[in-house]
Point group: C2
Chain length 461, copies 2
């Protein structure tokens, strides 16, 4: 244990209760990894604050002793965001898990950062409301805001950043600020909401979030459409988007991934490239949208399309899609999952998916493609044996190729998983001189570089 | 002419052509004011760059000589944004007015900052597309991005910030950066798009914008609904929003403002609080939405509702609403217009509008209320005789009361007009300690404080 850690420990125990400060190895191990393949690293201390004031006191101490701090939600990140590579203090927000207020008339909800997505939706259901962002994992809302999470519903409802109306943030020196207001729009001051969302704990710790929620739609229809190729499936989606039909979800799952789904979810879907779709709205409008969509799909060579309006059938269909990552994990025990995450302009998507499919086949690793094709964002899921250096190298080279392909077409290295440690090396290539702007902001707001160092920007200390 | 201005002038004439640099008094006067009541002030020099490289050279010189720079679109701002209170150089972007690329398949368009909203929409119509943000004035897109403009369509399509996919920005030292990419979503790096949109020329000059566009909806219906009180009108809108019916526009115009509209637009609308509405979508869905809306309106005491599906009638209806500001100006020659611009949580809107109406009546100035009620944003338009000190004081005190009312309810001092000089004094009250975060960002990116000084943040030099 370093001197500074020895010094801060009794101080932390003064501002927090005994059971809110842990140096237990098991606890530290639980905070040393996320759901990715990235190398683990232990924090020195894990703290469990119960309120904003405690977080502020922790930050004041950490800033004084210049000890790194990593905010931690549930550890479901996929690029090593919460792995404390410089050790130090991990702030676990699991005790700050209260839904503070449902402002039904304002379509807003105020929550603490440790509230999970499913916990919030369970509560909102009582009001006929729902929270739209669905990244698959049952992440905390604080973590989702920190990484600007998105997912299957983004094509209609937007990303996490679009839902954040206000954040209470504890800065590096312990100062507490609010980044927004309860107004639906504002032209007052710099857009701090947008800056802090997606900052991955490098600019501050979120202690309260005010989020937009929506009325549960009157009617919902799900569909599954089978295509002869990923290209024809993607082209069908592009055409639908151009007509302005408001699709609520549209996911592409390739042949190999359908095989994994069938095995894990005990379904017997045709093992061909498939679109999973969802539409919502009023009954009459929905009917017309669905008919028009069907026509467009058939024009693009769709060989089979099945609709599910019944709630149970719809849930079963989406569960199969949602369980895809677990299907890969379950079916490949002992291997680690690497997921690529580029996003390209929609017009480049069909070619990009074909490119990825060919590259994936050529390296001979187990893996499939899936994508939020309405946004141009797709993933290759690879299962790798981390003890096999050649396999790891192949997977990393594949990931790099996909990233370069996307950046050459003015896309992004990460559509929704975030930078963490895994995409840090691509920041200069993607952002060019804009990366220096980000570095200047980081240095201005966290001069001692204690907040989640080495993530997004890599400041030399 | 100061020494530094004398020094920079020949240097500017080296990087620009003779006719791109002006010290002519008439030209300077045209760049000394916007459409507001704020005091005018002359720039020393006005420059007219033709490309990014020229803007970069101008900024390098200005930074070297530490001369203030104000970027200028069309001067349609309402809070003195482009008035150069420290004199210096005004960069007029009127020669950078090219639509560079329409990426039909990506629903994106790339433009130079001097392109106006109507110019863009004229071009997009050829593709069956439109640009959604409509602030009333035919502003430039660079100016609209700088102020995070919004307007009548925001309730459905969002504010300017929601449309910006990428900006090319020239920073204070002449460095050129891109703030985004062409991908529909990204979790890569800090959200510079969001930070630069709404920065009102204080962080950089925009030289290229990539913007989202939309397919022109299949069907559109407009409506005009008359209510016995502003309160019942606002409550009706709140109920409609809660059901999730996607209204494309919803504007409130009060009794006095309807009188001004009737006089200016030669209409004979009932002089009672009125909602102007618009719905778009597919034919069947729209019909169902309209019927449901009508029911809700009647539940809230709507006394008359008229629908217009015909294109000409619809345009006439919206022209009347759009001409409201001009109706006030036209009907009150010699007076200047002051427009308040607070935005409150929707649940507070009905009371806020009643409060503003009562205050307005009590001070006895000519004025009316209008509002983007779907967003909780409303304006009081006051016509003031700037030579009458008592009248000016009354108007300013009214504005201040409205701002305090909104801030006490967790709203914002400006929903869409921006900070400029007029709302600078409320920034500390609204943002608290977050204002210091904004100041740190400003100092980090513009250490010599040359970019539109005194606006948004007031850095002591």
């Amino acid at each position: 244990m370093s001197t500074s850690i020895e010094n801060i420990l009794p101080k932390l125990k003064k501002v927090l209760k005994e059971d809110q400060v842990s140096i237990n190895l098991t606890v530290r191990e639980l905070h040393s990894k996320d759901e990715s393949y990235h190398e683990i690293c232990l924090p020195d201390i894990v703290v469990f604050p119960k309120n904003t004031n405690e977080v502020s006191e922790i930050m004041k101490l950490a800033n004084h002793y210049q000890i790194p701090v990593v905010p931690f939600g549930r550890g479901s990140s996929l690029e090593g965001h919460i792995i404390p590579y410089d050790n130090g203090i991990t702030i676990d927000f699991s005790l700050m898990d209260k839904i503070l207020e449902v402002r039904e008339n304002d379509l807003l909800v105020k929550v603490q950062p440790g509230v999970t997505r499913s916990q919030l939706n369970k509560e909102l259901k009582k009001y006929g409301l729902f929270f739209s962002v669905d990244p698959g994992a049952d992440a905390t809302l604080g973590g989702m805001a920190a990484t600007n999470a998105s997912g299957t519903t983004t094509v209609k409802y937007g990303v996490m950043r679009d839902q954040v109306r206000d954040l209470e943030v504890v800065l590096a020196d312990g100062t507490v600020i609010h980044t927004g207001s309860l107004a639906a729009k504002s032209a007052s001051g710099f857009h701090l909401n947008g800056l802090f969302v997606g900052s991955e704990g490098t600019l501050g710790c979120f202690t309260e979030l005010t989020l937009r929620v929506y009325g549960i739609p009157e009617f919902t229809t799900a569909a599954r459409a089978v295509f002869p190729s990923v290209q024809s499936a993607v082209e069908a989606v592009t055409s639908i988007l151009q007509t302005g039909i408001p699709i609520a979800r549209v996911e592409l799952v390739d042949e190999e991934s359908i095989r994994q789904v069938n095995r894990f979810s005990e379904t017997n879907y045709v093992e061909s490239p498939t679109l999973f779709l969802e539409f919502d709205g009023n009954e009459a409008g929905l009917k017309q949208d669905v008919e028009f969509t069907k026509e467009i799909m058939e024009d693009h060579g769709c060989v089979d399309i099945q609709f599910e309006t019944d709630n149970t059938a719809r849930t079963k269909l989406w569960d199969a899609r949602h369980n895809l990552a677990y299907a890969y994990i379950h079916g490949n025990v002992g291997k680690k999952m690497m997921v690529t995450d580029v996003c390209v302009p929609i017009s480049e998507l069909a070619d990009a998916v074909v490119y990825a499919r060919n590259e994936l086949s050529s390296i001979g690793l187990i893996g499939g493609l899936t994508g939020h094709v309405g946004d141009g964002n797709f993933h290759a899921i690879l299962m790798i044996d981390m003890t096999d250096a050649a396999e790891v190298a192949k997977a990393e080279s594949f990931n790099e190729k996909i990233v370069h392909y996307a950046l050459e077409r003015n896309g992004t290295c990460t559509g929704e998983h975030g930078v963490g440690i895994g995409k840090q090396k691509y920041q200069a290539l993607e952002h060019g001189a804009a990366l220096q702007v980000m570095e200047k902001i980081k240095i201005a707001l966290d001069p001692n570089n204690i907040l989640n160092p080495k993530k997004i920007v890599n400041i030399e200390s």
